[in-house]
Assembly symmetry: C2
Homo-oligomer: 215 residues x 2
Amino acid sequence: MPLASPPEFDAAFRERLLDLLKWRRDVRRFQRTPSPPGAIERLISVACLSPSVGLSEPWRFVLVEDAARRAAIRTCFEDCNADALQMQSPDRAALYARLKLAGLDDAPCQLAVFADHATAQGKGLGRLTMPETLDYSVVVAIHTLWLAARAEGLGVGWVSILDPARIAAILDVPQDWTFIGHLCIGHPVQEDDTPALEREGWEHRHARAGAVIYR
Amino acid sequence: MPLASPPEFDAAFRERLLDLLKWRRDVRRFQRTPSPPGAIERLISVACLSPSVGLSEPWRFVLVEDAARRAAIRTCFEDCNADALQMQSPDRAALYARLKLAGLDDAPCQLAVFADHATAQGKGLGRLTMPETLDYSVVVAIHTLWLAARAEGLGVGWVSILDPARIAAILDVPQDWTFIGHLCIGHPVQEDDTPALEREGWEHRHARAGAVIYR
């Protein structure tokens, strides 16, 4: 039996939750003001409430504070992005790259997130046919952190134009840790309810109806 | 400039959000009462507010209503689970399997979720070095749906002991859709703030401190 009484979520809460989802953004422009002391550790604690396959809790968080390591990550982004740019029309891609670099330069906090593929926790349950669910568990934890951050007025930007093996080497993590994502965290320069890529004319959101079929 | 005024999230909201995260569960026992009309479609709409790499919105939702297809998915689970059970100590694994089957038998809604690897949306942005971020975007959408469901009093159970190729065949989806997860959705038999696997003694949650390092 549960020890505590289950919470009731009312319409007002659901409305606020919807606001949170609508105003969560992949933030690219950050103020340089530091986050409140302990904020990142608190957000990581909240992220650890996430579901994980077999209760494996495979998430591993690396707070990147060292200037040389940050510089190496920035260089890694620049190198990977140079390749990526060749596949894109140059003007918009260059704009996008500048914005992402701005995030790496300005955000007071950088958090690299890994999945521990060697963890014995969970005893392998639930992931024999789909081992990728271990990584998925870490993705969900990142999303939890993202929402909790936004609820504190902090923005998160996910940088994915990186070479996972190189990031693992730069951060000197155990070899069984797989890189999932690199997060810039800090106070955003501006709040918005429209994705930056839509504002910049890169892409627009599509109606939900096309994404649902019945079988 | 944003057209609407950004919402302010206060301490009371953050407390409720924490409750939501603490009381979200991977639900295995469902009441058979149908969900309110339109509830699933509404939850899918909310899920579509999720972030996606390059604004690709690759999530595709398949509402599985046909009895024969549901039976085929159940058989797929049983076959995959038979293999998985051989890797586990038999008593606990059998209990776990029974609970998961109960979800597939009782939940009024079954939703299979895929990633469309052929989508042109987003123009490939952000996923040259890490193409798995397309799948990660779908994982985040599942998590959004999960939280929104819990806020409506609906539970979600994620079934991962399945063969992705077989599920795609059973549901006759386009060949570029990659299976991410199969969700059982409905009113839970009981609310709880402790994971079922912890209640059953399979595994327990660990302290957050071991999951953070500084570099």
